[in-house]
């Protein structure tokens, strides 16, 4: 069984569109994250939720809005997509604040 699953795996869309990436973890973890990996492979945290509460909100455009309906899910909604949003987005979870992260397989977003 996949521990952290995110869908879709690939997402190709045009500028200006709105899209969502879903993430679910079946590990019973309290904390979930969204990371962005750019074309140079650099990973940077975007958001972190603990028990549905936002605890980390890095400098990310307001067009990005995370939603956590329950502690097993953390979805990422992106409005008015721009070319620079093209990247791989990783969802992750951890048992507690200072536990190792378990990553999903990533969603490659391509904005044309």
């Amino acid at each position: 069984d996949t521990a952290v699953s995110q869908t879709p795996k690939y997402l190709v869309t045009q500028m200006g569109n709105d899209k969502s990436i879903k993430c679910e973890q079946n590990l019973g973890h309290d904390t979930m994250y969204w990371y962005k990996q750019d074309s140079k492979k650099f990973l940077k945290i975007m958001f972190s939720y603990n028990n549905k509460e936002l605890i980390i909100n890095e400098t990310v455009p307001n067009r990005f809005s995370p939603k956590s309906p329950d502690k097993a899910h953390l979805n990422l909604h992106i409005n008015s997509l721009e070319l620079g949003d093209s990247a791989v987005y990783f969802c992750a979870s951890s048992r507690t604040y200072n536990s190792p992260l378990h990553f999903g397989n990533g969603t490659r977003l391509t904005v044309t």
Binding site: K41, F42, L54, I55, P100, H102, F103
Partner: protein, 119 residues
């Protein structure tokens, strides 16, 4: 702010040989955690090894071991008996408490080292 530096963008090693990937970090914290993650071409992020800063003993996980030098703020990864499946990007990561927002432990990644194992 915490920073993580991996000074080797790319490395290669012959199969069955040993290779060491370097990582340094900068922090004023005393309590933190260090990790090495592996990202093979499949894109999946896989935890390789973890080290708690308060532990003096270097972590070991089968063929993977670290050389943790706290005073020097150095955390290198040694891969013994390299295998073709070890070909991947390797990311060093640092986790410490962040006082921004509601406060939480935050994981910061280095820029990665691309390791190629040559048959």
């Amino acid at each position: 702010a915490q920073t993580v530096t991996q000074s080797q963008p790319e490395m290669s090693v012959q199969e069955a040989e040993t290779v060491t990937l370097s990582c340094t970090y900068d922090t004023s914290e005393n309590n933190y955690y260090l990790f090495w993650y592996k990202q093979p071409p499949s894109r999946q992020m896989i935890l390789v090894i973890r080290q708690e800063a308060y532990k003096q003993q270097n972590a070991t996980e089968n063929r993977f071991s670290v050389n943790f030098q706290k005073a020097a703020k150095s955390f290198s990864l040694k891969i013994s008996d390299s295998q073709l499946g070890d070909t991947a990007m390797y990311f060093c990561a640092f986790m410490a408490f962040s006082y921004s927002g509601a406060g939480s432990y935050q994981l910061t990644f280095g820029k990665g080292t691309k390791l190629s194992v040559i048959p």
